[in-house]
C-alpha cells in the first residue's frame, strides 16, 4: 500500500544544511498499523509529512497504492490535495470558523465532483457516529474539549475513506488519563475501518500497544523495525533497548561459551551468546527490570545470581520499583507484589538468562 524508498530530506538552517531524514525505506501492507517511534528530532514527523506531501523529499521515492507520489530525481511531486489520504494533526487543526459537522464535511465538499448533499450528510454522520460524536454535529468547534477535538479530527480524516491514514502524535496534547483511554479507543476505531495507518509518536507505550509493526527511528535512520514484541524483546541496539523501556546495562567480558564475567567482580552470568562474541571481548548485557527476580538466598555464581543490597523501594501501587546496589551497578527491578525485603537488606538477584540481550561495547 505504501512504499518509502531511500527517502531523504534536508533543511536549510542558519548553520547550513541539516539532514533530517537520511535515506530510509519501509513498506506498509494493506490494512496494517505501522508506527514510527523515536525521540524528538529523529525524523519521524518529517517522514510522515513527506508521505502527506506537506514536505518535499530531497531524494528517494514514495509510492502510495502503486502511484509514485514523490520522486525528486524524476521530477515527480503530487501535491497533498491530490493524494488520497486522511491526516490527524498534533494540534488537531479543527477550524474554529466551522462547526463540527462542517469541519468533517470539508474533505467531501472540496472533492471534485462533490457528492450530493444527502450523501455528504450521510457520510459525515457515519463518520461522526464512528468516533462517538454523532450528537455534537452542530456544536461550534471552539466549544470542544481536547478529547472531542481529537475525535472530530479523526472523523474528518476518515470521512473520505482515504487509502492511507496518517496520525501525527495525536495523543500528545491530551492529559495522562485521557491519553490512555483514547489510546485504546483510537486503536479500536482505526481497526474498525481497517485503514492502512501510519502513526507517529515519541511514546513507546503507544507504539508498543497499538501497532502491528513499529520502526524505531534515531537521527534520521530506522534503527530497528519489527513487531512490537520482537523489537521489545530483541532490540538490535542499545539505543532501541533503552528507548523502548527501562534497561539495566551491565558491562563485562566474554568468559567462555555462554558465560559473561561482570566487571568489578560483581559476578558471573550464563547467557546464551551468538557466534559473534569471542572469548575476552568486551560486551554489554541489557536486561529489563521485569526480567530480574529478587531472592532472599542464593549463592555466588550459581543459578545466574548476583549479590546486592536493596537500597530503595518505590511503591507504585500495583507494583514496586526496587533499586539494588551490586558493586558499582545500580540495578532497577520491578516486582509485582509487596516483597518482604526491606531497604538495607542484603539480597540476591536472579537474572533470567533468555531475557538478556547482549551487545558489543559500541552498543550494536
Amino acid at each position: 500500500m505504501l512504499r518509502v524508498d531511500r527517502l531523504s530530506k534536508s533543511f536549510a538552517t542558519p548553520d547550513g544544511m541539516t539532514q533530517a531524514v537520511k535515506g530510509i525505506g519501509f513498506e506498509v501492507a494493506e490494512g496494517e498499523f505501522y508506527t514510527l517511534v523515536g525521540p524528538s528530532g529523529c525524523g519521524k514527523t518529517t517522514t510522515l509529512r513527506c508521505i502527506a506531501g506537506l514536505e518535499r523529499p530531497s531524494g528517494g521515492a514514495i509510492t502510495i497504492a502503486d502511484v509514485t507520489v514523490d520522486e525528486p530525481d524524476a521530477g515527480v511531486h503530487v501535491p497533498s490535495h491530490l493524494r488520497d489520504i486522511g491526516m490527524v494533526f498534533q494540534s488537531y487543526a479543527i477550524w474554529p470558523h466551522l462547526n463540527v459537522f462542517e469541519n468533517v464535511a470539508y474533505p467531501l465538499r472540496v472533492t471534485k465532483p462533490a457528492p450530493v448533499k444527502s450523501e455528504i450528510e450521510q457520510r459525515v454522520m457515519d463518520s461522526l457516529q464512528l468516533v462517538g460524536m454523532g450528537d455534537l454535529a452542530r456544536r461550534s468547534a471552539t466549544k470542544l474539549s481536547g478529547g472531542q477535538q481529537q475525535r472530530v479530527a479523526l472523523a474528518r480524516a476518515l470521512v473520505r475513506k482515504p487509502k492511507l491514514l496518517l496520525l501525527d502524535e495525536p495523543l500528545s496534547n491530551l492529559d495522562a488519563k485521557l491519553r490512555e483511554q483514547m489510546r485504546v479507543e483510537l486503536e479500536e476505531m482505526v481497526a474498525r475501518v481497517g485503514l492502512t495507518t501510519i502513526y507517529v509518536t515519541h511514546d513507546q507505550a503507544e507504539a508498543l500497544s497499538m501497532s502491528d509493526r513499529v520502526a524505531v527511528m534515531s537521527e534520521g535512520l530506522i534503527a530497528q523495525e519489527g513487531s512490537p514484541r520482537d523489537v521489545y524483546a530483541r532490540p538490535s541496539t542499545q539505543f532501541v533497548a533503552s528507548f523502548l523501556g527501562v534497561a539495566n546495562v551491565l558491562t563485562g567480558i566474554v568468559g567462555g561459551p555462554d558465560t559473561v564475567v561482570l566487571d568489578d567482580g560483581a559476578g558471573r552470568l550464563s547467557v546464551p551468546l551468538s557466534n559473534g562474541f569471542e572469548t575476552g571481548a568486551r560486551i554489554r548485557v541489557v536486561v529489563r527490570p521485569e526480567d530480574i527476580e529478587i531472592r532472599a538466598d542464593g549463592a555466588d555464581g550459581a543459578d545466574n545470581c548476583i549479590a546486592g543490597r536493596l537500597e530503595r523501594v518505590v511503591f507504585e501501587g500495583a507494583q514496586s520499583e526496587c533499586f539494588i546496589r551490586a558493586k558499582d551497578y545500580r540495578i532497577r527491578v520491578r516486582v509485582h507484589q509487596a516483597t518482604d525485603a526491606r531497604e538495607g537488606d542484603d539480597i540476591w538477584l536472579r537474572i533470567l538468562p533468555d531475557r538478556c540481550v547482549v551487545f558489543h561495547q559500541d552498543g550494536n
Binding site: 501535491p79 490535495h81 491530490l82 489520504i85 486522511g86 491526516m87 487543526a93 470539508y106 473520505r160
Partner: protein, 582 residues
C-alpha cells in the same frame, strides 16, 4: 503510468496550482506596481526637462537642470528646510506633551470620566484634518477669529487684531501638534497598557516615592515604546499638508510639502513637474530614514516590555488634590480640539460667519444646507468619497492579505524584497505620493487621469497598513489549520478561500475599516489629482472655504461630523472592552 504523468504535470506549478499562481502573481504584481511605479516615475522625472514639457512628452530629455535650479535656490536653505525642521520638531513636542499627559491620566490614574475623555480625545482621528484646520481658522485668525473677538470684548482691548494669531509659526505648530494628539494618544495608551505594573510595584516596595518611580522606572522602561510613536508622529508631521496649506500659506510659512504643491500650482506659470520631483527626493529620503528608525525602535520595544500572565490590572494612582487640575487640562484640550470646533462649524453652517450674539439666534438659515443638497456636485463628492475609500480599502486589504501569505508562508524567492516594498509605503509622504501618482498617470496613456479611478489607484499605495495587520493575523494561525485542508483534498485556492481568509476575517475587517477611514479623511492625494469630476468631500469642503463660501464649507463639515459620530461610538465598543468595567 498515467498517474505519474499527471504528477509531473502538476509539478511545474508546485503545490499551489495554476489558479494559485495566477492569483498570487496578480497580487504580487499589484503590490509592486502600486508602490514602485510611482516612485520610479518620480525618480525619472527629477532628471527630465525642459520645465515647460511633461517629463516624457516628445521633446523632453535627460537633464540636471531641475536639481541645479532647486538646490541653487537659497530659499531652500534659508526658509524651507529650517521651517520644516522647526515645524516638525515643534509640533511633535507639543503633541507628545499633551498626548502623554492625557494617556497617563486615563490609563494610570483614577481620573473621573475616563471613558468619556477617551472617546472625545480620539474623536478627531476619523474626521478629515481639513475640517479642524478650517474650524481653528474661524476661531483664531487675528482680526476676525471668534476667540480673539471674545477676548478683546472681555478685556476691552482697543485693537483690531490679536491677541492670538494662528497665522504664525507658533500658531501652526500648536495646531499641527493638537491635530497629532489623538493618534499619538492611542499609541501611548497602548504602550502604557503593555507595561507590567510589577516593575513599578517593585520600585515602590524598594522604598521609592511615586515620583521617583515615575522617573526612574516608568519612563526608562517605557522609553522604546514612547520613542516609536514620537518618530511616527514626526513622519506624519513631515508629510502633513492640510494645516500648512490652510494656515501656513496665508501666513507665508513655507514648508516642503507646500513647496512641492506650489511648484505644481504656481500663481502664474505652468506647473514644473521636474522641479517638484527634485524637491521631493531629499524629503523622501528623510522620511524613509525616520521610517527605519521607527522600525528599529519598534523591534526594541517588543523585546523590552512584555506583559505575561492573565488577569492583569494596572495599578492606578490616586490623583488626590490634582484631580481638578487634571480634569481642567483634559477638558481644555478636548474643548479646543474637538468640542468647540464642532460647535463653531454647526453655528457657521446655520448662522453664517458672523460672530455669535444672542440677537443672531433669530436669523437661523438653512440656506447652506438646501443649496448643498440641491447641488449635484455635492452628491457626486459623497459618491466619490465612498467609492474611492471603499474600493481602495477592499483592493488593498485583499492584495495585502495575499502578499502577507507569500511573505509568511511561502518560500518564493524575493519575498523579503516584497515585504520591504510594502513596508516602504508608510514612509512615503502623501504629498510626494500624490506628485508621483500625478506624474505616472499624466504620462501613462490609460485614460484614468482626471477620473475617479486615478484616486482609487493612488489610494492603493498605502499597502503597509494591511500587510502589517494581516501578517500579525496570519502568524497567529497554526500552520496545521492550512495543512489539514490540503490533506483533506483542498487545493491551494480552496484552502485560501475556505480556511485562511475566513480565519483571518478579524484582521481583514480591521484592516478594511482602518483603510476606509484613511481614505475617507484623505485630502492631499485628492487635491493633487483633482479634477472637476473626481472631487471628494474633503476637497469640496476646501474649495468652498477657498471661495469664502464659509456657510457651505461649514455645512459639509457638519454633515461629515454627524455621519462620523455614530461610527466612533460603534467603534468604541470594540476598542474599549476592558475600559467599560474599569
Amino acid at each position: 503510468m498515467a498517474a505519474t504523468a499527471q504528477a509531473v504535470r502538476v509539478h511545474r506549478t508546485g503545490d499551489i496550482g495554476i489558479s494559485g499562481v495566477l492569483v498570487l502573481g496578480a497580487a504580487v504584481a499589484a503590490a509592486v506596481y502600486f508602490i514602485s511605479a510611482p516612485l520610479a516615475m518620480l525618480l525619472f522625472s527629477a532628471f527630465r526637462g525642459p520645465e515647460d514639457l511633461l517629463p516624457f512628452e516628445t521633446g523632453a530629455a535627460w537633464t540636471l537642470d531641475n536639481f541645479a535650479q532647486v538646490y541653487g535656490d537659497t530659499v531652500l536653505y534659508s526658509e524651507i528646510i529650517p521651517n520644516t525642521l522647526v515645524f516638525v520638531a515643534g509640533s511633535v513636542l507639543v503633541a507628545f506633551v499633551i498626548a502623554f499627559t492625557l494617556a497617563w491620566l486615563i490609563e494610570r490614574t483614577d481620573l473621573p470620566g475616563r471613558n468619556v475623555f477617551f472617546t472625545l480625545i480620539i474623536f478627531p482621528i476619523i474626521v478629515p484634518t481639513v475640517i479642524l484646520a478650517i474650524a481653528w481658522m474661524f476661531m483664531f485668525t487675528p482680526n476676525s477669529g471668534w476667540v480673539n473677538l471674545a477676548i478683546r470684548a472681555a478685556f476691552g482691548l482697543e485693537r483690531t487684531a490679536g491677541p492670538l494669531n494662528i497665522l504664525s509659526m507658533p500658531g501652526l505648530i500648536l495646531a499641527q501638534g493638537a491635530s497629532l494628539v489623538p493618534f499619538m494618544f492611542l499609541l501611548l495608551t497602548a504602550a502604557l497598557k503593555t507595561m507590567n505594573p510589577a516593575f513599578e510595584e517593585a520600585s515602590a516596595t524598594s522604598g521609592a516615592s511615586p515620583l521617583t518611580t515615575f522617573f526612574k522606572v516608568t519612563l526608562p522602561v517605557l522609553r522604546p515604546g514612547i520613542l516609536a510613536p514620537v518618530i511616527l508622529a514626526a513622519l506624519i508631521a513631515l508629510e502633513s499638508f492640510e494645516l500648512p496649506l490652510i494656515i501656513g500659506l496665508p501666513a507665508r510659512i513655507n514648508v516642503f510639502a507646500i513647496q512641492i504643491f506650489f511648484e505644481l500650482n504656481p500663481d502664474t506659470d505652468l506647473p514644473v513637474y521636474g522641479r517638484a520631483a527634485a524637491v521631493a527626493l531629499p524629503f523622501l529620503a528623510a522620511a524613509l530614514g525616520l521610517l527605519f528608525l521607527y522600525n528599529h525602535l519598534i523591534r526594541r520595544a517588543e523585546s523590552y516590555v512584555t506583559v505575561t500572565g492573565k488577569g492583569y490590572r494596572p495599578a492606578r494612582y490616586p490623583l488626590g488634590r490634582w484631580k481638578w487640575p487634571a480634569i481642567i487640562f483634559a477638558s481644555t484640550y478636548i474643548g479646543l480640539a474637538a468640542v468647540i470646533p464642532a460647535a463653531v462649524l454647526v453655528w457657521v453652517s446655520l448662522f453664517g460667519f458672523n460672530p455669535p450674539t444672542v440677537g443672531s439666534l433669530g436669523k437661523v438659515s438653512f440656506d447652506a444646507y438646501s443649496e448643498l443638497l440641491s447641488d449635484f456636485r455635492f452628491y457626486r463628492a459623497v459618491g466619490n468619497t465612498f467609492l474611492v475609500a471603499g474600493l481602495s480599502a477592499f483592493i488593498v486589504t485583499l492584495v495585502g492579505a495575499l502578499v502577507s501569505w507569500v511573505v509568511v508562508r511561502s518560500n518564493m524567492p524575493g519575498r523579503k524584497v516584497l515585504d520591504f516594498i510594502s513596508f516602504l509605503s508608510i514612509g512615503i509622504p502623501s504629498v510626494i505620493a500624490g506628485l508621483a501618482m500625478l506624474l505616472l498617470y499624466i504620462t501613462l496613456p490609460i485614460g484614468v487621469f482626471g477620473t475617479v479611478w486615478v484616486l482609487v489607484l493612488a489610494y492603493c499605495y498605502r499597502l503597509a497598513v494591511t500587510t502589517r495587520i494581516s501578517r500579525a493575523g496570519l502568524m497567529q494561525l497554526h500552520q496545521e489549520l492550512e495543512e489539514a485542508s490540503r490533506v483533506a483534498g483542498g487545493q491551494w485556492l480552496t484552502t485560501i478561500r475556505r480556511v485562511v481568509l475566513p480565519l483571518m476575517a478579524p484582521s481583514l475587517v480591521a484592516s478594511f475599516v482602518l483603510l476606509f477611514i484613511i481614505g475617507f479623511r484623505e485630502f492631499t492625494l485628492a487635491l493633487i489629482l483633482l479634477s472637476e469630476e473626481n472631487m471628494v468631500l474633503s476637497v469640496i469642503l476646501f474649495r468652498f472655504f477657498e471661495n469664502t463660501e464659509m456657510d457651505k464649507a461649514a455645512a459639509v463639515a457638519t454633515l461629515i461630523v454627524v455621519f462620523v459620530v455614530p461610527v466612533i461610538f460603534a467603534a468604541r465598543r470594540f476598542a474599549l472592552p476592558q475600559e467599560r468595567e474599569g
